[in-house]
């Protein structure tokens, strides 16, 4: 206190505001302000343009009433800090808040009929705990909807859907569901506890995988996906984190049908960019277009790419950047990153990473069949051939659209001209052969030999040319699609 000073100077008050007034002056002045209305007025006039604050105040009040409504949440930035280090404290908070006490002190707590041992995973939707079911004396994995999401009706519905969708698909390569508790404070679903790691964890640990593993994991994941597709379900979130690799057993399981949705169901979110990483989304998802099962097939392509190279094909610092890459760009050639990957596997992957769904391999079953044959070839190269169809696929991904579209068109036309040339040549040869049918007849009876000659030569010729013609018409179709895409892009632009 410094009662002799009746008023402080403007400069000193300004310094106090700037936190630049030395002690003990600062304390004295602060105390003085408690008593002196004049100096307070001085302070406030210095501090705040009252007109500014008067205008800002109602808005500040609205913001502070519901700060969550003003924070970015939907398109999460990939730069967001890692949550791993929070796991421990989260688990204990969670245990305190939502689990009832367990008889067993080594347990975190109890949820329904399950003793909860430890946290084993965390996802966008919730937390996965290792649990123990005493009655059946078995370990289980309990997936609990995150508390902040449990308040949202939409999230609860989605969680319930996951249970329904997964339960509908019974398949060795799809993670099964034991039971569901939907109408409780925190909904949860119970799955078998299977010692495993996710493909994502393995990639983080070991980097690119051996080609046999790439083919085996890809094949099994495709089989699981085929089972879901046959139920009319689109998974929509196929990524390494959702592909589980059972420890010590060569079994792969597809999991997390949280975004899965029946093709004809319009009640839930259409595009599903809600949480997590978008690196494995398809272009149609990134576009916000409707998706069908072929969207999942693109994601399988991205997963195969990640297994070959150790990283996803489309990368950027932000979610938005990734979505743009997926829509527009061509990933780096796999052979540049991992020279051990053969060209034919790269062809399979590019065929899946086609921007237009119609250009991809058309079903998960087809993928599984192709990968299975490839695996057989790798294991028995002398006795098993690669699938013939791979040879007709391009060795590099389709170039970026629309920037390099003219180049693509030019290349395609060149190919068509080439095919035309080959066809004419073969026709000439065929005609020559037909004109001189007995020239290479081994038998002596020329009369009877003339009859089969045209019959056999024509199908032979046709067989030789057919793939080329098919490919040419596919190219033409693709160019049509590409120009249609461009047209659509022009028509769909905002006003």
């Amino acid at each position: 206190m410094n009662p002799e000073v009746t008023h402080y100077g403007r400069d000193q008050i300004q310094q106090l505001l700037d936190d630049a007034l030395p002690e003990p002056l600062a304390t004295d002045l602060t105390d003085h302000l408690s008593e002196c209305p004049d100096c307070r007025a001085q302070l406030e006039s210095l501090a705040q343009d009252s007109a500014w604050w008067t205008k800002a105040k109602p808005d500040v009040r609205v913001v502070l009433e519901d700060p969550a409504a003003y924070s970015s949440s939907c398109l999460v930035l990939l730069r967001s800090p890692s949550v791993d280090d929070e796991d421990e404290s989260f688990a204990s908070d969670f245990a305190v808040d939502f689990l009832s006490a367990s008889d067993d002190p080594t347990m975190l707590g109890r949820l329904g009929e399950y003793d909860i041992l430890e946290i084993i995973g965390r996802g966008g939707m919730g937390v996965v705990f290792k649990g123990f079911q005493k009655e059946l004396h078995r370990c289980v994995a309990v997936k609990v909807l995150a508390p902040h999401l449990a308040q949202s009706a939409a999230a609860r519905r989605r969680f319930e859907r996951e249970a329904q969708a997964t339960a509908a698909v019974v398949h060795p390569h799809v993670m099964a569901i034991h039971s569901v508790a939907a109408n409780v404070k925190l909904p949860y679903l119970v799955m078998p506890f299977i010692p495993c790691e996710s493909l994502q964890q393995r990639l983080d640990r070991l980097g690119p995988l051996d080609i046999k593993d790439v083919l085996r994991i890809g094949m099994q994941a495709a089989l699981g996906l085929a089972a879901a597709h046959s139920q009319g379900l689109v998974h929509r979130d196929v990524k390494p984190a959702n592909i589980l690799l059972e420890t010590n057993v060569d079994r792969v399981m597809l999991t997390d049908f949280g975004l899965a949705r029946a093709v004809d169901d319009a009640t839930l979110t259409r595009t599903g960019i809600i949480a997590g990483t978008p690196q494995y989304m398809s272009p149609e998802q990134a576009n916000g277009d409707g998706v069908d099962h072929r969207s999942d097939l693109f994601s399988v392509g991205s997963v195969l790419y990640a297994m070959c190279t150790g990283r996803p094909p489309y990368r950027a610092d932000t979610t938005f950047g990734v979505l743009r890459r997926i829509r527009e760009s061509t990933p780096r050639r796999i052979c540049e990153i991992n020279p051990e990957i053969p060209e034919w596997l790269e062809r399979v992957i590019w065929k899946l990473l086609e921007k237009s769904p119609g250009d991809r391999i058309q079903s998960a079953v087809d993928i599984a069949t192709i990968l299975e044959q490839c695996l057989a070839h790798v294991q028995q190269p002398l006795t098993t051939q690669l699938p013939d169809v791979i040879r007709s696929w391009p060795t590099a991904a389709a170039p970026d659209l629309p920037a390099t579209a003219p180049a693509a068109t030019y290349a395609s036309w060149r190919k068509i001209l080439l095919v035309a040339a080959v066809v004419s040549l073969l026709i000439v040869i065929a005609v020559t052969l037909n004109q001189n049918p007995s020239s290479n007849q081994p038998g002596s009876d020329a009369e009877s030999a003339t009859v089969p000659a045209p019959r056999t030569s024509r199908p032979l010729l046709w067989d030789a040319v057919q793939p080329e013609i098919d490919q040419a018409s596919a190219e033409i179709q693709r160019m049509r699609d590409a120009s249609q895409l461009e047209l659509d892009a022009v028509q769909n632009t905002p006003d």
């Binding site: 106090l16 505001l17 936190d19 002045l29 602060t30 105390d31 302000l33 408690s34 307070r40 302070l43 406030e44 210095l46 501090a47 705040q48 343009d49 500014w52 604050w53 205008k55 800002a56 105040k57 808005d59 500040v60 009040r61 913001v63 502070l64 700060p67 409504a69 003003y70 924070s71 970015s72 949440s73 939907c74 398109l75 930035l77 730069r79 949202s152 939409a154 999230a155 989605r158 319009a266 839930l268 979110t269 259409r270 595009t271 960019i273 809600i274 990134a286 576009n287 916000g288 950027a316 610092d317 932000t318 938005f320 950047g321 979505l323 743009r324 769909n492 632009t493 905002p494 006003d495």
Partner: protein, 197 residues
């Protein structure tokens, strides 16, 4: 100045047009993503639909940013953004109406069908609030909890200074200083945001 902030100055626009400027897009999203979400929710959309629609608006903006020409009038970019948002919302809601064969009575269509002129710029307030929210979030971290609470309780909620001082175990003088400091910082932060646009 905040009062007459020229919303979205050309510099951010230019940066948004540069494909490699991820930072510009994340800055853009910080402000406009929550803003669009709120606008969509206010139209009566369910949470997931609001998110979907917001995403569509952002993707459309991204797709068309290179063709966008400011019309020279105030808040040109925001009015454009609003038109896109309105189109997305209308097409979503009409699709939904077709599917359920019933219109939602509680839906406010009037604003959606507005002409998007400056007078009816419904983003103006949302935008101001969003910038303030951004500034509040940053400024809060700079102060001790008591300083912050002194500001919130007295300046925002208008509570009696002596009461708040007692609750926070501060002198009334400290409460005055605290809230003045916060407001000064807040204003500086908002102005800095505007200057960076």
């Amino acid at each position: 100045m905040f009062d007459d902030a020229p919303q979205t100055r050309p510099s951010l626009l230019l940066r948004l047009r540069n494909d490699r400027d991820e930072r510009a897009w994340s800055e853009f999203l910080t402000i406009y993503e929550p803003l669009l979400l709120r606008v969509m929710r206010r139209r009566g959309m369910q949470e997931c639909d609001a998110r979907d629609s917001t995403q569509q608006v952002l993707l459309r903006i991204y797709g068309a940013i290179n063709r966008y020409q400011p019309d020279g009038a105030e808040a040109s970019f925001r009015r454009w953004l609003f038109r896109v948002a309105r189109n997305v919302a209308i097409s979503f809601l009409s699709r939904q109406a077709r599917q359920s064969m019933s219109l939602h009575d509680d839906m406010d269509w009037s604003e959606l069908e507005g002409d998007g002129s400056l007078e009816s710029d419904p983003f103006d307030q949302e935008y101001r609030q969003q910038v303030l929210a951004w500034a509040l979030q940053h400024v809060q971290r700079e102060f001790h909890l008591n300083t912050w609470l002194a500001f919130v309780e007295t300046s925002v909620h208008g509570r009696d200074i002596a009461d708040v001082a007692r609750e926070l175990n501060m002198s009334t003088g400290s409460v005055y200083v605290a809230r003045s400091r916060v407001i000064t910082r807040l204003r500086t932060k908002v102005e800095q945001f505007e200057a960076d646009r």
